[in-house]
Subunit: 418 residues, 2 copies
Amino acid sequence: MNLLEKLHKIGFSRLTSLKDTLDILFSKIKVNPYEEIATTNALNRILAVDFVSKIDIPPFDRSAMDGYAINAEDSYGASPKNPKKIRLIGIIEIGEYTELKLNKGEGIRISTGAPIPEGSNAVIKIEDTEIDKEQINLYTSVVPWKNISKKGEDFKSGTKILSNGTELKAEHIALLTSIGFSKVIVRTKPKVSILSSGDELVEPGDPLKPGKIYNSNTPMISALVKLYGGFVEKEETVKDDKKTIKNRLLDASKESQVIIFTGGTSVGTKDYLPEIMKESGVILAHGVAQRPGAPVLIGFLNETLTFCLPGTPVAAYVSFLRIAGPAIRKMLGCLILDPRIEIMATINKDVPVSNLGFLHYLRVKLERSDDKIIADPVKLRGSSVISSLSFSDGIVEILPHREGLKKGERVIVKLHPK
Amino acid sequence: MNLLEKLHKIGFSRLTSLKDTLDILFSKIKVNPYEEIATTNALNRILAVDFVSKIDIPPFDRSAMDGYAINAEDSYGASPKNPKKIRLIGIIEIGEYTELKLNKGEGIRISTGAPIPEGSNAVIKIEDTEIDKEQINLYTSVVPWKNISKKGEDFKSGTKILSNGTELKAEHIALLTSIGFSKVIVRTKPKVSILSSGDELVEPGDPLKPGKIYNSNTPMISALVKLYGGFVEKEETVKDDKKTIKNRLLDASKESQVIIFTGGTSVGTKDYLPEIMKESGVILAHGVAQRPGAPVLIGFLNETLTFCLPGTPVAAYVSFLRIAGPAIRKMLGCLILDPRIEIMATINKDVPVSNLGFLHYLRVKLERSDDKIIADPVKLRGSSVISSLSFSDGIVEILPHREGLKKGERVIVKLHPK
C-alpha cells in the first residue's frame, strides 16, 4: 500500500496534485477592486493599471554635464596646445527656461540638467576648458550632440512603462514620480483572518504546561500574509471544539476575503474542519500530493476563500508559500504569484524521497564555493521542526516523478520570502 | 588628464575609494538603543540580543503520527498476513497530559503532537493497524523510537537559536514564538530626514513647466529608507538657496539621526552643500571613486550623520545602496549591512569601462537560458536614466582595477532590494 492509497483510506476525499489544486483554486479567484493612493505610500503595493507616460523623458534636450553649451563646429581641431576660443554670452541654471540663443563663436555656461539653448548642439565639459574674463578656451573637440541628453531619449510620451500587476519597489516609485504621477491606482489588500485551533496550544508568554506547545503558527502566518501583500484583519486562537470552531469561522467569513486556519486538517480525533466545510461551505480540494503539507483543505465559506493548513509549522509554512500566498497575490492581480527569488545551485548529496508521486520540499542552506553555489540539505526530522526553516535559506522542490536528487545535480532553490 | 585628476581640479577635496569611505564612515557609527516590542509586530525588525532557548524543543517526547503508542517489541514479526494483537487501554489527545501508563501487550490511541505515555517506545501509524472493539491489529513492525519526536531533538534549552543583528522574517517569528517569546528586544529605527533641492524640481502632480523636471529622488530615497529599516521622519523639497538649505539642514539635524540630501553635490553653480558642511559640520569624505555617484559628500551636522547624494537618480540610488543604506543598517546593528541578494550569472557581452580606478555599477537584466543565468547589460545613457533601474533586475560591480568585463565571464549580480 503506497502513501497515496493510505491517505485515501484514512479519509482524504481525494489527493490532488499541486498543479491541479492551483488550477482549480486560481480559476475561482476574482481580482480585488482598485483604489487610488499617493505614490509615496505605494511601496510594495500592486499596480492595478498599465502606466503610460504622458511626457517625454527627458522632457527637453538637457545638458548631461557641467560645462558650456556650444556649437560643436567651434571646437573642431581644439587641443591643449591649440585651444579654440569662443565668447561667453550668458549662463543657464538648472530649472531655468531661457530665451538665450547661441550663435557661432559663442558659448553659454550650463549646469548638468539645464536645458540646451537654441543654436547649441553640444556641451563641452568644464574641465576641458578655461575661462579668461569673457573668453572661453576650448582644449578638446566635441562631436555634435556630445553631452546632451535628447528629449524623449529615455522614453517618449505614450510609452507603457509599467504593467498592471507590478509590485512597486523604490525604482518604480522613482519612475512614476519622475513622470509626474503623484497618485497611483493599486489593488486593495485582501483582508485575511488567521485562526488556529488545538488544545495543545499555549500563547507565547504564558507558562508551558506538560503536553502543551506554544502557538507559533498564528504569528508566522500573520508575518507571511503581510509579506505577500494581505491585510491581517484578525488573529485568533480557537478552542478545539467543533461548535466553537464553526462559529468563529462563520464570523470570520463575514469580515474577511480569506481565512487561513491552521491545525485540524489531519485525521486526528479532534479534526473537525472537513466536517464543518462539508456542512457549511464548498470544498475545492482536500489533500494535496505534497510533503510535508498533504492534509490541506481548500474551500469557500460563504464568499470567503478558506484554507485549512496542517498544524505542523513546516507543513503550514510550505502550504502557505505554494497555495495560500499565491492565492492572495492572485487577488492582488500580481504578475508574479510566487514572489520568491530563485537561485541555481548544486546539491551536495544524494537525496532519496520516500513517496513517489508527491512533490517534496527540501529545506537547504546555501554556501558559496569558488564560483559555485552549493545547496546543503538541512538535517531535519518531521514537519514540526521549525528550526529547519530559520536555519535554512530556501526550499528545493523535488518533482513528483523523481525518486530523489543526485549529488552534483543542478537545482533551483526558492529563497525564503523577504 | 584622467578623471581622477579632473575631479580633483574641479573641486573635490579628495576622491576616496568606496572601501576607505565605508571604513571611515562605519568607524563613526554607533549602534542604536534597543526597545522591547511584541514578537507579532517584529517582522523586518533587527534583533538586539542573542536569543537563547529556555526550553527543549520539542518540550516532551511526542508522537509524530496519528496512531497507537505501543511497545515496539509487541510489533516484531507483524505483517498483513500475520498481524500482532494488542489491547487498547485509552486515548491521549494532543495537548493533554496523561497519567496513563503502558504495559506490554497494550496500546494507546494517540494524535500527532500528543505526549508519549510512560512505558511506550514507539508509535505505529493508524493506517498500519485495524481496530476491532478493544483489540488492535498491528500489520507491520516498528523499531524502537519510530514516529516519536524526542524531547530536545530539535534543540535543547540553552541553545543559541538566533543571533544579535538578525533581520526577523516569518520563519524567525515562528521560531521565537515556538519557544514562548511573546516579546523581543530589537533596535530602534533610525529617524531619517530626506531633503532635496534644485530649482528645476517640480513636485509630481503639478504641471511641468519648460526646463523643469519632476522630483523623483525624495520618494525613491524614502522607499529605500523604509526597505532598509529606517523611519522616515520628514520629506522636504528645499529652495535652491544657500541660507534656506543651511537652515533646513540644521533643523533636520535636531530631529533626525540621519539626513539624506539629494542634489547640490556636483560643482554646478548653485551647489552649496560642501560650503555648508564646511561651515557648520564635519566632512568625513567628499568624492567617492565610483561611477555613477562620484560626487557624494558624507559628514556630521551636530550629531547627525549627513549624506549629500548626487541629484541624478541612478547616482543617488547606487550611492544609497552602497553607502547610506548600509550606514542605516550599521545603526541597526545588522549582521548583514548590504541586504541585497546576490546571484551568479554570465555576462553576455564585453563591457569596457571608461575610467580605471573607479568602481563601476552596471545595471543588468537577468534571463534564464537552460541551466545558466545570463546578465544582459541595460542600454543606458547617463545616470539620469531612471528607466534603467526599473527595467533592470540588479547591479554588477566592476572593480576599480578592472578595465571592464569580458563576454562569458561569471559575475555577481546584486538584485535590487525587495
